[in-house]
Symmetry: D2
């Protein structure tokens, strides 16, 4: 069935013949395997260009920062899935990644779009970034929308990963355009919201990535790729020392049934 | 509900308090972000240890080698999924990863298990690896089972990525124990099968990974992680230049309906 | 980790002891198995109430209507996934369902929300539904948004399933409140858009479901449940007569590589 | 890329032109919508035939029986996924279905294959089904394999759904060939295993389905379809009364970290 008008299949990422696999214009076997690191390859795949040293440092740092944070919901979902379906590691990884949504890991992208919006808004304010940040945050509050990338359930002070990421970018000599926007937003929040909401890791990641030219459409890919590494580690631990069903058991030890009961039914 | 006997939730991968996230015994913010590369972090997460230089080189090379091979089925599934559900990048990545199964990307793991089996079988043959390989391949053929990691639909000669991976391991000074087993198997195949089936990338990957001590249970994680990077790249291209529905249209231009038809129905 | 404030686990859907499983207040084994149909059970699970005869007829009709439409993208994704990962039927079903997104199957829900919006808008127009429909459609056009549930890539005339669904509801004696809103919208479209966009099945489904009191939040569940049945059928056919890899092959026979090439590379 | 030899795309399930959608030889709009129930449509899609009354009764009963059993792992995974990614209902359903694996819901299929194996084995025993069951169960025990469909974590006596399903089949006049095999296996287990393992719902489902001619390859589809209905209900409850993050919080309240700690780290 034809959906939409496009019928032409094309891609600029890869082609191959019997001897050679070409990835983004490079001979994969001769010029990439053993020549570049996997994060640089990720950058090449996504953007078509090899990263410079600063971009490489920043991408590695963001991937390391967001990979692991313990038995978070997506890890639990993955471990329960492997316990129930040990025949398909890929299914358990997929179940975990499906939780990389707008509320949890996806806020890296929405925070990045917030920075772009503040940057654009500043044009209405003669380049005054603080006025722009104030206007945008005020608009979000007026619409009762969250401010993506600010505040954290566990880390009330600034998330410890934030300064580490900013420091990596600083040492790599990256001009802090979006990092400054991110900090400006943090600064205006108390005046608008009435309390501090500190920059968290999901704001720091797009700030440093946008500063090295990583495309906004690909930013959500960073937590997804990072979390895949973590999910694989948890699933290997699950194979050796299973807790998938223990998690689901513990989750419901104090469960309350709020529906009606047939006559004579006794809870245990 | 209690499934199985285990009710105790434990993990050795991560813990945290309000100031500090601990990953595998290291302070994430102070000691890992900006200090180690993402592939080394992956090794740390999976094994609990930082890799040595040789292991790091090999892991990067395998991840680069297996990330991308064009519009393969899993990429097509992901791009069609994003076209239909653009609100969930994670869902499109998950749809792609679900095709990392036993037939396609999963053969890296099964090839690795084949090498371990040959290694063990050699004990029955006084350490004669060739005799062991012959016995194991013969047993697979007798049971009409495939030989995972040998032969390729496009690359009839040795897959061009194979020598690149072996060369990375050699230059890193890795003792080629499993690489030699992999080659030994390739050598005995013509005598058993009656034709050559060349070592492909799914055999080379576990060979070099096992040679640097990467655990067999985690080997399938390497193509899964690598393919995640590729899927993200294809999905970013899909956002900019969509072909998801064109793929599904092209796939069925010569479709045949083999069922019955109601009276009066005319195909178009 | 605590995310948000809620820590209390509760549900009104099911409880059990060693002898009895209670579903929505009913004894599953005594009062539901063999006593009610599966679609009625679906209604019970979702709403807490057994459906009346009209609701039962409409739910069955919508599930039958939307289950199957050939080798659509989600079916192709599922069949390719099973070909690559035959060990996990559930993974192939999941890959297919991930394409039940906002563009394709999810438009049933967005069309339903459109009807609710027109209904609410009518309060601003003294109950004049046509004026309300005109205002809402005009607003969508002004924002260059699609009109969910109207138009179809293959069926330029009214989708043949639409009248069948409306007739089921009519014969069941359902008062056509949302069906009338759906038709009213269809009627105002030419005047706003400049051409006809006929009511399609994704508008008919929420119209008849809302008319029998099915909750808006659950409407997307109807195409998801229906499509699951279809995916299972296609995957059983795939096991017996595989086309998963043929689909991916056909999809790329006329593929164009739009990137650069290394010196000396010859396409085949 | 060409994988395998097949390049021809064909299917016997559906075709369409601009006026008519044909499903398994029937005109969908004229002859199926409003004419047949959704479970009968499922049977038609899978087998190509409409079910007789007995098959229809049995399919409905099995779907009702296996749809819901409270906050089981797959439901927890789905609810956590929706909490993290509310933009994609289909992703949360998929995450739940990915847990329909070999250990949990998939045992319906493996139990069905066990019955077929006993049936075939009986040919070696002059048709003596008890001897065949004894031989097969003994073989499973010798290989330390589980006996799929027997025993249950909560219901030590026969699962209450089992007799309900058998009674539906009996009242529908179904000849109990596979039901008898299932009971025969239950009877020989104490003599082989040393304790009772009662027939559970995952054995009863394939027994009654095989007795009405439902194909073995499609049996896993029954719990998958049934569970989809339950997942949709739980996800609608999750939208109205969220517990996804409460589940993940409760699951880890007594979590133990078993790794090492950096100097100076204090747990909270």
């Amino acid at each position: 069935m034809k959906i939409g008008k496009a019928t032409h299949v094309r891609s600029a990422i890869c082609t191959s013949n019997e001897q050679t696999i070409v990835v983004r214009g490079h001979n994969l076997s001769n010029d990439l395997i053993g020549q570049i690191s996997f994060p640089d390859h990720f950058h090449l795949l996504v953007t078509g260009r090899l990263p410079d040293a600063a971009a490489s440092a920043v991408i590695n740092a963001t991937l390391v920062a967001i990979a692991e944070h313990g038995l978070v919901p997506s890890v639990q979902a993955a471990r329960m899935t492997l316990a129930a379906a040990p025949e398909a590691l890929q299914g358990a990884v997929a179940a975990g990644l499906l939780g990389a949504g707008s509320v949890v890991l996806g806020s890296s992208e929405t925070a990045g779009r917030l920075f772009l919006r503040v940057e654009q808004e500043a044009q209405q304010h003669g380049g005054d970034m603080q006025a722009a940040a104030h206007a945008v945050v005020s608009d979000l509050r007026a619409k009762r929308l969250p401010i993506p990338g600010y505040g954290h359930p566990e880390h009330k002070e600034r998330d410890p990963r934030v300064d580490a990421l900013f420091e990596v970018a600083r040492q790599a000599g990256v001009a802090p355009k979006y990092v400054d926007i991110a900090k400006t937003i943090e600064g205006v929040i108390p005046g608008v919201v009435g309390r501090e909401l500190k920059l968290n890791v999901s704001a720091a990641i797009p700030a440093v990535l946008l500063d090295v030219g990583f495309p906004i459409n690909a930013i959500k890919g960073v937590p997804i790729l990072a979390r895949t590494a973590s999910l694989i580690a948890h699933l290997c631990e699950e194979m050796a020392d299973p807790i998938g069903f223990a998690l689901s058991y513990q989750a419901t030890t104090e469960q309350e049934y709020t529906g009606t009961l047939p006559a004579g039914f006794k809870s245990e």
